[in-house]
Each structure stands twice: as C-alpha cells, then as structure tokens.
C-alpha cells in the first residue's frame, strides 16, 4: 500500500515535471503552467495546514506565520547576504519548524488548548512576527525585501517553468508526506486525537508527542513553500505574508476538500484556484473573496466534512457530470474557452458530490449480519491471556488517597488493595467518589495526596498513556468511540498503541479476537454511528482489553441498557475476567454487582464504608443506611 502509493507519487511527479521540461515541444501555453504553479503552491500550503489542523483537529489561524518565516528567511539570506537560493530553502523549512515547535510547546504543554482558544493563540503569532519584522531593519524594517532571481538550469525555457518545477517538488513532497502520515501509526494517532483525545491518551497514545510532530511537519512544509513564495513574488513585505489571506485560503480549501484525508486539501486547492482564476479572467475580480467567504460560511453549515468523503461515495456521478458538462460546452462552443468549459465541468461535479443525499441510517436489522454465537471457552482461548501477574499478588495499592475539588472533598483518605484475579464491584450512592477513584487510577486526575501503585510501580503524576502502558485500561460511562474509524479499527488502534504494540495489519487481525470476546465481530466493518448503545458499550470493552491491561476499570458500562442487554453484558464481563484480567466495575445496579463481583467495595461521601464479599457487605447495617436512609437498619433487620 505504502510503497505503491509512493510509487504513484513518483509517477505523477515525473509526468507533471515533463510538462515543464518539454513544454515548448508540447505546445503548451505558459499560462497553464503559471496557473498550475499557483495551484501547486496552495496544495502545499493547504496540505501543510491539514497535517496539524485537519488530521488532529487543532484548527490554526497562524499558517501565515510559517509562510512568512519561510519567505523572510529566503529573502533576507538571499537578498541581503547573498546566500544561494537552494541553500535557503532547507534553512527556511527548519526555521519555520522550530517556530512551530515553540508554538506547540506553549499551546500543548502549558495548557491544553482546543477549539477557539487554540485558534486565537495561533492568530496572534503572525501579528507578533509582523511586528518583529517591521522593527528589525536586519529583516525588513518596514521597507520590504527584494528577492534576487535564482539561477535556473538552461534546459528550462523560462523562469516560470522553473517556479513551476520548484512548486511541483514541494507540493508532491508535501502530499506524499501527508499520504505517508495518514497510512502509518502517526496518522492513526492524529485521527484518534481528533476523534477523542482523552480516550486516545488513555489507550496509550502519547498525544503530546504526536501533536508536536504534527505541528513540526506543518511548519516544515509551510516554511519550504513560503521560501518558494518569496521567489515567486520577488519582493517580500509584511502584508504579503503575515495577513489573514493565507489562513483564509488554506482553511477554505481544506474545509472544501475534506480534512481527514490527504486528497482533501488537494481537491480543495485545485477547485478554489480554478474558480479564482476564472472569476478574475471574466472581470469579476471583486467577487473573488465574496465567493471564497460564501463557500466557507455555507460549507460549514451544509457539508462540514467536505468533498473527499462524498466523492468516494459518488465517484461515477461526479466523473459523468465533469465530462458531460465540459463536453457539451466544448461541442456547443458558444461561450468561453477550454479552461472555462473545464471549470464549469468541475463545478458541476462539485455540485453533484455535495448534493444532499439520504443520510446513512444505522445498519438496519435486516441488513445486519447475524451474530454468530461463540462459545465462551473458544473466545477466551482466542484472546492472548494477559495475566502476567500471579493470582493473589497485589496489583493495585492505594494509600490514603484524597482528591479535593476546591473545597469539595470528593475522596478523603481511601486506602485499597486489589489483588490479581479479583473482580471488584465499586459501589456507593451518587457523589460518593466512585468515578473520581476511577479517574485517579487511570491518571485522568491527579490525587491531592496519597499514593497509587500499579504492579508495584508508582503511577501518580504519570501521563495517562504511560499508565496504560503500565497496565491500566478503562471504559467510559458514555461510550466515546473514534467516530471516523470502523469498529475493527477502533480496537486495532488500542492494539497498535497498547502494551505490546503491533503494526496495523497484525493489529487488525488481533482486533477480531477481541471483538469475539464481546460478540461484536459481525459488526467489525460498521462505523460507531451505525451501532446501538449496547454495542457501543461492548466496543468500549473490546477496545479496553485490546491494550492488554492487567487491570480493567469498567465505569458504569451497563448504564442505559435493557434487562436482556444487561444479561449479555454481564456474560461478556465474565468472559473478560476468565481471560485473567483483573476487573474493577463501577455500577449502579447492585443486582449486577452482586452477581458478578468476587468482592464489593462501598464508598460513601468520599470514604471507604465497607469492603468484603458481596453478601456480607450488602447486609452491613452501615451500607443499608447509606442506601436506604438513616433509620433503615434499626427497623429492617
């Protein structure tokens, strides 16, 4: 897949490069290459933006910063210090990447910004750089910098051919990089960050590291393309790079094309550049930005997922529309020229692709493959047994753990030991601290005081993904699947980043075994949106066991199920326990806990109220009082 894909890029590059080298022999007007150059520049920029903002969902308004650093590096080194152009390109890319890492360190480390706050932070960066450039006369000083024309090889007819080739190199490299990222662990990590960052972290994805890598790649490509931009415009000013035009264009292009696939920004850039060119050529220059703004505003409301995913669903209709409209206009030949006809065809294809179709309904019962019953032993055998802890050995040790929220004491001095092989029911009235305890064990929260050790290792202060690697895994009360991935890939994600990571192909195979344990194999190819709540909760469990945990924390994994579904889920929990995984289950339904648990721990008002086997605990007067009210034990028993 990867090798073939990259081979494809090499082929595309060779063909497109040939157009420039033999342009005069082919009789291709230079105009087409100039237009293609523009498209390639924007393909590189949109792809650069998309690696961070599309793949990982961190929308940036700061693309101008990377372009600007690239452009100024080339302009200043070449124009003021006489450095050879070819040398300045890698320097520009590296400078831009360093800036990106600085922004990333601020935004991702000090505070975890998302959404509009991250967007605003990145919006401020070009403003700061613009001020620095204006003030510093070594850089710009408010005068602008002239970029010397670079020497180009004599087998190229014109400077424009040369620019086209340079843009082609950078654009193809950028798209190939985006392609490679999408098809490796890196891309999967970014997609999981976009879909549900905290879940990804909990399953073992080092989210901070991957976000830093992504922003560095964005900076690298943005800087290299910015360097070419300097050569192209010949005279770099603060306004030409640090404004809001560049972020506007890359955002519109990526939103139009689709942000989750490497093809998206390419499609978006080509369509936008064509529209802009035809509008200008037809004397509607003043409408360029209005059309751009309208595309953005309408798309976000109507089709926020963009062209790519929809095109994959209707490829033939789009191709027919393109060929038909272009063909008819060419035959009639009463208006415009070949490029106009083609652009009209493209717009027709875009309209066909975006035309609202029937929303995909959840997999209807009759279309669903039936669940093949799997014998429990068989399923248990299929899963690699995780129990590398001896039964009876202390696996989790909480000492005097407390967690305060402001003045509220959610947990206050809880000490608890959980031994390998146990199935512990964690119960208590609302607000007793159960979920807080689960969050502390999984590292989502840090205790105010006290210590927590898992398998002898102190986990306080470890990032959740490190705790996952120590052997703790959890489910969430409200299932949070990775919505963009199939059921199988949700589980494969957990295997790829879990305690014994495997590459994608192997992980997908292994995922089937995990799906067998929860009886979801028949839905392996469905998307999470197409399965019901019960199945989503089973998926949570499958994903959690796929990390090969020593301890599995089930946080109200049965909430909202009907009695039949509860019985099915109980059987699944039993099966998981039978594979040797120690389980802590938080559950409201005491009947379920009593059925399942080998031991019950009761919390009340943040403290441990009772601990022991289910029958004893449920007859404990203190427990009855906590559940029924103050006089219950006096009257009842």
């Amino acid at each position: 897949m990867m090798a073939r894909g990259l081979g494809g890029f090499a082929l595309v590059f060779a063909v497109l490069a040939a157009l420039a080298v033999w342009r005069e022999d082919l009789g291709l007007p230079i105009f087409y290459l100039v237009l293609a150059s523009t498209a390639l520049f924007w393909i590189a920029q949109a792809t650069s933006w998309n690696v961070l903002s599309g793949y990982s969902g961190y929308f940036s308004f700061g693309q101008g910063a990377f372009v600007g650093v690239g452009a100024y590096t080339t302009a200043v080194l070449g124009g003021r210090h006489g450095v050879d152009f070819y040398l300045t390109v890698p320097v520009a890319a590296v400078f831009s990447a360093l800036l990106a890492l600085l922004v990333g360190a601020l935004a991702f480390r000090l505070r975890s910004f998302r959404g509009e706050i991250f967007a605003l932070l990145t919006l401020a960066v070009p403003f700061i750089l613009a001020a620095l450039a204006r003030v510093n006369s070594e850089i710009d000083g408010g005068q602008g910098v002239i970029v010397p024309v670079a020497e180009y090889p004599d087998w190229l007819a014109q400077f424009q051919d040369f620019l086209y080739l340079l843009n082609l190199v950078v654009a193809v490299a950028a798209v190939a990089a985006a392609f490679a990222i999408q098809h490796t662990r890196f891309g999967w990590a970014l997609a999981s960050i976009r879909d549900a960052e905290d879940v990804a972290e909990g399953l073992g994805v080092a989210t901070f590291r991957y976000k830093m890598l992504a922003i560095a790649v964005t900076g690298l490509i943005g800087g290299a393309a910015g360097s070419l931009f300097a050569l192209q415009i010949g005279f770099v000013t603060v306004e030409s790079v640090f404004g809001l035009t560049i972020p506007l264009f890359v955002i519109v292009m990526s939103v139009l094309g689709g942000r989750t696939h490497w093809v998206g920004p390419v499609l978006g850039a080509v369509v936008i550049v064509l529209i802009q060119d035809r509008l200008s050529a037809s004397g509607f220059e003043g409408w360029n930005l209005i059309v751009l703004g309208a595309i953005l505003a309408v798309l976000v409301v109507v089709a926020p997922d963009g062209l790519q995913a929809r095109l994959w669903r209707r490829p033939w209709q789009a191709a027919v529309a393109l060929v038909a409209v272009t063909g008819v206009l060419a035959v009639v030949d009463s208006w415009g020229g070949p490029l106009d006809w083609f652009v009209a065809g493209v717009l027709a294809a875009v309209a066909v692709v975006l035309w609202p179709g029937r929303a995909r309904a959840p997999v209807a019962a009759e279309r669903r493959p039936a669940a093949a019953p799997v014998a429990p032993e068989e399923a248990a055998g299929a899963v690699p047994v995780a129990a590398d802890a001896e039964p009876g050995e202390v696996l989790v040790e909480c000492r005097d753990v407390a967690k305060y929220f402001g003045g509220v004491r959610a947990l206050d001095g809880v000490s608890l030991r959980i031994r390998a092989g146990e199935l512990v029911g964690l119960v208590g009235p609302n607000g007793s601290g159960k979920t807080t305890l689960v969050n502390l064990l999984s590292g989502a929260l840090r205790p105010t005081s006290g210590s927590i050790a898992v398998a002898g290792r102190d986990i306080v202060g470890l990032a959740p993904h490190r705790i996952a690697h120590v052997g703790v895994s959890r489910t969430h009360q409200i299932p949070k699947p990775f919505e963009s991935m199939t059921v199988r890939d949700n589980v494969a994600m957990a295997i790829m980043f879990g305690r014994s990571p495997r590459p994608l192909a192997g992980a997908r195979e292994e995922a089937e075994a995990c799906l067998d344990v929860v009886h979801l194999r028949h839905l392996a190819d469905a998307k999470p949106a197409e399965i019901n709540l019960h199945e989503r909760q089973l998926l949570e469990m499958a994903r959690a066991i796929a990390t090969k945990p020593k301890v599995l924390l089930l946080d109200e994994a049965l909430a909202g199920l009907n009695p039949a579904e509860i019985d099915a889920a109980v059987a699944v929990v039993r099966r998981i326990h039978a594979t040797g995984i120690t389980i802590v289950i938080v559950e409201h339904l005491l009947r379920v806990v009593n059925q399942l648990a080998t031991r019950v721990v009761v919390l009340n008002q943040g403290a441990l109220l009772a601990d022991g086997d289910p029958r004893t605990v449920m007859n404990d007067p203190d427990v009855i009082r906590a559940y029924l009210g103050r006089h219950a034990h006096a009257r009842g028993t």
């Binding site: 709540l533 199920l561 409201h588 009855i624 029924l628 009210g629 103050r630």
Partner: protein, 234 residues
C-alpha cells in the same frame, strides 16, 4: 394536579423509562424512590420539559405538557429544584432568587415571595449579596428551593434534595418541604434517602430499571421487602 401516563423516555437509542404511570393530587407530597440509575431524574426532567425525547402524556390540570417548550412549562404552575442544585454560581443569592420570578405572572409576587423564602431560610437573607458559588452545599440547596418557590408553583419537582448534604442539613431541607407543602404546594419528591422521603410523603412509587415496580401509601412502603430488594439489589 399531575397525571403521567405511559411515559417512555430515551437518550438517543437508550430507553430510560418504560410505561411509567403516576399521579400527584392537589396539596399532596408524593415521593419516588429507587436505586441510582433507575430513571428518576429522567422522569423529573421529562415533566419539567428539559428532556424531550418521550412518548406518553404528562398532564398538569388536564393540559398535556409533552409538546410545550421548556420555558413555557412553568406557566402551568410547575417549578423545578434540579438534581445537584445547579444554582447560578456566578450570580448573587439575591439575583438567583429574583430570577426565580422571571416569568411575568410571577413578578408581582416577588416581594412577598422573597419575604417567605427569607423566613423559611434565614441564612439566605444574611448572604443575599454573596455569589451563589461561594455558598456551602446546604445553602445552595436552600437557594435552589427558594428560587423555585419564587416562581410561585403549585407543583414543586424536587430532584434528590439530600444529595451530598450532611445529615443535619438534610433535616432542615425536609422541614422546609413540610413547610412548603403546608402552604398548599404539591410536591413530587425524588429521593435516594428512602426512609426520609417516605416519612415526609403520603404516597410513594418505587422506580427500578425504568419501571414503576411498586406503589402505595408511605406506611406500606416503609420497610417493605420489595423496596429493600429493588434498592439494594439483593
């Protein structure tokens, strides 16, 4: 006063209530008890109009409220004391109370209502200009109740008023429920403290796994094996 028939409720695809029937007569206190996650809060939210994914009827004085938008439900004399209090933390105690009387029909009674709430909970009068977020849990509960009273309800929906409160404070809250009822307000009380709830109410319903599994006078339900079983899961 309140008549709920065949109520079903969903969260997305998850059904939370199955065919719930219940009624509250004028001037009555009725409690709904049951284990956590039984659907008690869903029931209250459905009646208050905050949860709209329902089937069945919810009638107050014969008017069906299931299609009435949430901000119009109060026009029919229903007010809510939500679970977890949910006072407006960044507003003062006074502003929280005044907001209770936001509805046009309730505004003329603002002064009298404030006086009544201050006599019921003198501590709220003392803390009038404090931010609600700075109050203790018990005071916030009183504020939530006071806010609802200023809406001049004929039916008060109370969702877990004892949640997370110290026993002494819970006593105060339950005394207030009696006092409010003595003023002629009907109360539908959802509680996990079964004993206390049944003490203060005339009748009760037991809700478990989204269904009414038992109902009767509070005396009948107190200490009944069925209640025990459904709450403790034994």
């Amino acid at each position: 006063m309140l008549e709920v028939r065949e109520l079903e409720a969903w969260y997305g695809q998850a059904q939370a209530l199955w065919g719930v029937d219940l009624s509250v007569a004028d001037g009555e206190v009725v409690s709904i008890v049951g284990p956590n996650g039984a659907g008690k809060s869903t029931l209250v939210q459905s009646i208050a109009g905050l949860h709209r994914s329902t089937r069945g009827t919810i009638a107050v004085d014969g008017v069906d409220l299931t299609r009435v938008p949430a901000h119009r439900v109060g026009d029919h004399g229903v007010a809510l004391v939500p679970e977890g209090r949910r006072v407006f933390a960044r507003m003062t105690v006074h502003d929280n109370l005044v907001l209770g009387a936001y509805r046009r029909s309730a505004r003329p009674g603002l002064a009298d209502g404030l006086a009544r709430v201050h006599s019921l909970f003198p501590r709220l009068a003392e803390r009038s200009s404090q931010l609600a977020g700075s109050l203790s849990g018990g005071e916030q509960q009183m504020l939530a109740i006071g806010r609802a009273l200023l809406a001049q309800p004929r039916l008060l929906l109370m969702d877990e008023p004892s949640l997370g409160l110290a026993p002494v404070v819970v006593d105060e809250v339950f005394d207030a429920i009696r006092a409010i009822n003595a003023d002629g307000v009907s109360v539908l009380l959802v509680e996990q403290d079964v004993e206390r709830a049944l003490e203060v109410s005339a009748r009760g319903y037991v809700l478990a796994e989204g269904r009414i599994v038992a109902s009767g006078s509070s005396a009948e339900l107190t200490g009944s094996a069925l209640v025990r079983r459904s709450v403790l899961g034994l």
